[in-house]
């Protein structure tokens, strides 16, 4: 009697657990569809003809012709990608290198008044590009950097140094100092210790910082829109809006262009997911 009662009880809790699990999975899947379907729709519309786009939006394209993708590539995307790559990689190298130097100076060197300098770097985290943009326009014009790659490389570097230094500094503070001490005993200078000891040890966080920076610079819009005006110098986000303005009625090409500009960064994310998540975990304070 008591045994059967118990088993009925377990059966019921099992049933509730299974039902909860089914609901949970159903919820996760529907949310996944809501997240991914618009992106598939974007890529599919790149294969459609303009007439098909104005038909049933849920229909599949008649054929998978890459004509729109080729058109988008030739009508600007190629140049925009080239600019984005130059600006993104240029600023990524500058930011990570300068931030690593700074983090080293703020953790390992004999710099006097370190807390004060750390404060200035962290204070930079609070200042937003939006607030600085009007004075920066005049500054860039005076410096002759307006409408050059350098304007974006310098600004992306300057505005990302606080965050990147913050991440690398946190990592350096956690590194053991035995190797430093051994190197000092061997008569190594501060510079040698930085390049030969500290920097190699920091490789994981440096990779994370590069990826976080690439994600930022590839997608940045405000500075890119205001500091470049020529079609040769536009980065992808700005270029996309010009394609939209130029081909406003040829939607299929616009969809293809959007897909092409999203693709590299999504692939980077999947390839480097591990480093990316570590970077986020380290930088959770921000």
């Amino acid at each position: 009697m008591s045994v059967s009662h118990q088993s009925r009880e377990t059966e019921r809790t099992d049933f509730v657990a299974v039902l909860a699990k089914v609901c949970l999975v159903a919820f996760l899947i529907s949310l996944g569809v809501v997240v991914l379907y618009p992106l598939f729709w974007m890529a599919l519309n790149g294969f459609k003809t303009n007439a098909e786009i104005f038909g049933n939006p849920f229909a599949l394209p008649g054929g998978f012709s890459v004509a729109n993708y080729i058109a988008a590539w030739n009508q600007g995307i190629r140049n925009y990608i080239a600019t984005s790559v130059i600006v993104t990689l240029g600023s990524a190298v500058c930011t990570v290198l300068v931030s690593a130097w700074t983090a080293y100076g703020l953790t390992r060197s004999k710099l006097p008044g370190k807390p004060f300098f750390v404060g200035i770097v962290l204070g930079g985290l609070m200042l937003s590009p939006t607030v600085a943009v009007i004075p920066l326009v005049r500054m860039m014009q005076d410096l002759g950097l307006y409408n050059t790659y350098w304007a974006l490389i310098i600004l992306y570097t300057a505005f990302r140094i606080p965050f990147t230094t913050f991440l690398i500094r946190a990592y350096m503070l956690g590194l053991p100092r035995d190797l430093d001490e051994a190197a000092i005993m061997d008569g190594a200078s501060e510079g040698q210790i930085f390049w030969k000891v500290t920097l190699p040890l920091c490789k994981p966080i440096l990779v994370s910082c590069v990826i976080l920076h690439v994600l930022f610079a590839w997608n940045e819009y405000l500075f890119a829109m205001i500091f470049t005006s020529g079609a040769d110098l536009q980065t992808l986000p700005v270029g996309l809006t010009s394609i939209m303005a130029k081909h406003g009625t040829n939607y299929a090409v616009v969809f293809a262009a959007m897909t092409l500009s999203a693709l590299p960064i999504v692939m980077t994310f999947f390839a480097a997911q591990r480093f990316f998540i570590r970077g986020l975990a380290e930088g959770i304070g921000k």
Binding site: L28, G32, V35, L36, P38, W41, M42, I53, N56, P57, F58, V98, S99, W101, T102, G105, L106, R108, K110, P112, K114, P115, I120, V121, G124, M126, L127, T130, V131, A132, V133, I134, P135, L136, M139, L155, T157, A158, F159, I161, P162, D180, I184, M185, E190, W218, N219, Y221, L222, P237, T241, Y251, V254, M258, S261, A262, T268, F269, L280, I284
Partner: protein, 322 residues
Amino acid sequence: MITAVKHDYKGEAVKIGFTGSRRPERARLGPITGILSFRWIVIAFVLILWFVYYPIIDNFVVSTKNQDIFTGETAYVGLDNYRRLQSDPVVGTAILNNTLYAVISVVFQVFGAFVLAALIEGLSEERWRRFWRAVYFVPSAISITVTGLLFYFIYQPDIGLLDSALTQIGLADWSRAWLGEEQTAIYAIIAMSQWQGFGYSTLLFAIAIQKIPRELYEAAIMDGAGTWRRLWNITFPLTREMTGLMVIVTITGAFQVFNEVMVMTGGGPNNSSQVLGTWLYQQGFIENDFGYGAAIASVIFVITLLTGFAQLWYTKRRRVDL
């Protein structure tokens, strides 16, 4: 900082054991190596002070001047631009829209993301946990320009997904030009922003939840605590710091919104979806009224500074707690 001093001191002590005679020399060189150490930080500080700090100060100077675009002459106008802010109805709309953005984002991207992260981390297989975290994150990796344009199309009545989907499930009455109507434009933009951003905060919460010791959950299960009890009594209190930070970061972000509004409506129709960032752009760069644009920038500055201080205070308190 303290560990650094200790270690340097220890390094020095070890060194004395080896080559005792060099100690006076090093002591004499102390201040010089200290000054030489500036070389590590000098580039960063030139860049930060010049391009990040100085423009903020300059912004206040610009905001007290008006430039005549025809003659190019600038005149000092004191606080006139700030008085104009008070009588500008669009500034009111913009602050209201930024606030809406902040509130809705806190609901979905902080509390919604927290629950979602807890649900995902509750799955038994790591494979699936990783899968769902990655799936929901995808939109966050894509530029807001792309997602903004994408939703610009999704919201279109003629070719868009949304109205067509509503018609198919029998809600044709609900379909409308989402971005073309004053009542719905800002909500449509905010909805896109939630779609794009929730995966990012879910990932951050997932990382925070992973740091909670498993034993706590095992003990709770032994005590017969159900899923919701565990969520409320263990997960939530132990990720509270993270939640607090996310609230602050989300609010700061909501007051700096620019990109998606610019791409999707440009602030229209009839300025109904303007936010502070786009109104600054409109005034400063379209109307060429730098002084007034700078005054709007000052408003953004004050708001983000306040939330920034809240963040610093919160981080500091958390450090003490740990």
